[in-house]
Subunit: 255 residues, 2 copies
């Protein structure tokens, strides 16, 4: 690769593609991504485009065969390796459309490794459009510079989540009936973790008892105000990243 | 006041009113709030309604003179005193409609004392509908149980904000050119604070230099990913509440 600091150009469009990337791979694009590159970004033959597939890092590709509605991108070289992502899962009950979309978008930006939808009894929404959530993750990754997409797991029921919970992963959850202040709980429980957030109506008492009884569970308090489900999810994720994740010790000057 | 644990009823509607509340004050309501109580909540004469005006705590009131489109509420007794709110301001550049609304909603839920809109050079939006932002603060306060509304200040230019900055208040801001990890910066700077967040395009280099040169400024890093303006605002507020605000040391069981 040319050790040219001006390459790839900072202004190069950056795009997620659903194709495994690697040196010499040719990516044929049509539909919306092609329209974006051809009509919006006015890409010409030979221009550099940055691509990521969610797991192989970021790649520079060169445009060719530009027609009205499609083009081909040739992968030239990896510009960034797959990035380390902090080992944090967000387990969230489905909530109303705009608000679960917000959880997906912010989870990706904030650095969540896995988004695990969880069905609970008081959920007012019991189906989830995983394609739509995936699209929100992709858009957020394009925006925030992530190359690794958060894993989007299929929805599981709460009892199955608890039954199959992996050893060695803390399960933080906001319990309005009591819990340590989140700063205290996070400091006392470093390492792989997840935060579990219920639906608009919260967990029912039996569910709460089952979560509290789980050996991995760490009940936490998010302060004196009643947070909406998506606010709790975003705030707890930000708190974890701040104290236990990769916001701790990150120095942009050495990046 | 009757020391009756069943009063006021937990199911009582809770509503913001734009009238200074106090014992014996009669609040005449029409329009949307009256429609909500009469048609949606089906309030009858003698029913208890919880009211707050954003500064006088929460009051129980009794409904009377219920007509088709209006009713009167008599303030009976204060049910909660004005609550302490942590001394944290959010200073935010105007951004696109839905996203600045989100900042207002989450600022209120998370516990911000003051929302200060700040005009910066790269702002793509240079006017702000304060009435709409106020409505979002009110709705969030009704939802999260806050009685004190965040103060909503008129928009100021960045240079005026810096010039008139009060002594003794830290001014945290996310600086992509360098800053301490936010956990470190917050721990080193307890006490009254504000977080300043720029518009979609960030601060321009001159603005950044002016902020950094301010004696109150504390540049912080919010990790390796590029956060949208509203994500930075929400995440930094959650981090401050976690480490320096009223989420620290809060025990719901003693509340």
């Amino acid at each position: 690769m040319p050790a040219n600091p001006a390459w790839p150009p900072q202004s190069a469009p950056r795009l997620y593609v659903d194709t495994a990337l690697g040196e010499g791979v040719a990516v044929a694009l049509d539909g919306n991504p092609a329209h974006y590159l051809i009509a919006v970004m006015r890409v010409k033959a030979g221009d550099t485009i940055l691509l990521f597939d969610g797991k192989s890092g970021e790649w520079a590709a060169t445009a060719r065969d530009i027609r009205k509605r499609d083009l081909v991108l040739d992968c030239v070289a990896q510009t960034k390796p797959p990035e380390p992502v902090p080992d944090f899962w967000l387990c969230a009950a489905p909530i109303k459309k705009g608000r679960i979309d917000l959880i997906a978008e912010k989870a990706c930006e904030l650095g969540v490794a896995k988004l695990q939808p969880v069905l609970t009894r008081r959920a007012v929404v019991d189906r989830l459009n995983l394609d739509r959530l995936h699209a929100h993750l992709v858009e957020a990754a394009e925006q925030c510079g992530r190359n690794m997409l958060p894993e989007l797991a299929p929805m599981v029921k709460l009892d199955a989540l608890l039954r199959d919970w992996p050893d060695g992963r803390h399960l933080f959850f906001a319990d309005e009936t009591g819990g340590a202040p989140i700063a205290e709980a996070l400091t006392a429980h470093p390492g792989p973790a997840a935060f579990l957030v219920g639906p608009e109506g919260g967990f029912d008492p039996e569910e709460r008892a089952a979560i509290r009884a789980h050996p991995a569970a760490v009940p936490v308090s998010l302060g004196p105000r009643i947070l909406r489900a998506e606010t709790a999810a975003i705030a707890a994720t930000a708190a974890w990243m701040t104290l236990n994740g990769d916001w701790k010790g990150f120095d942009p000057q050495s990046d």
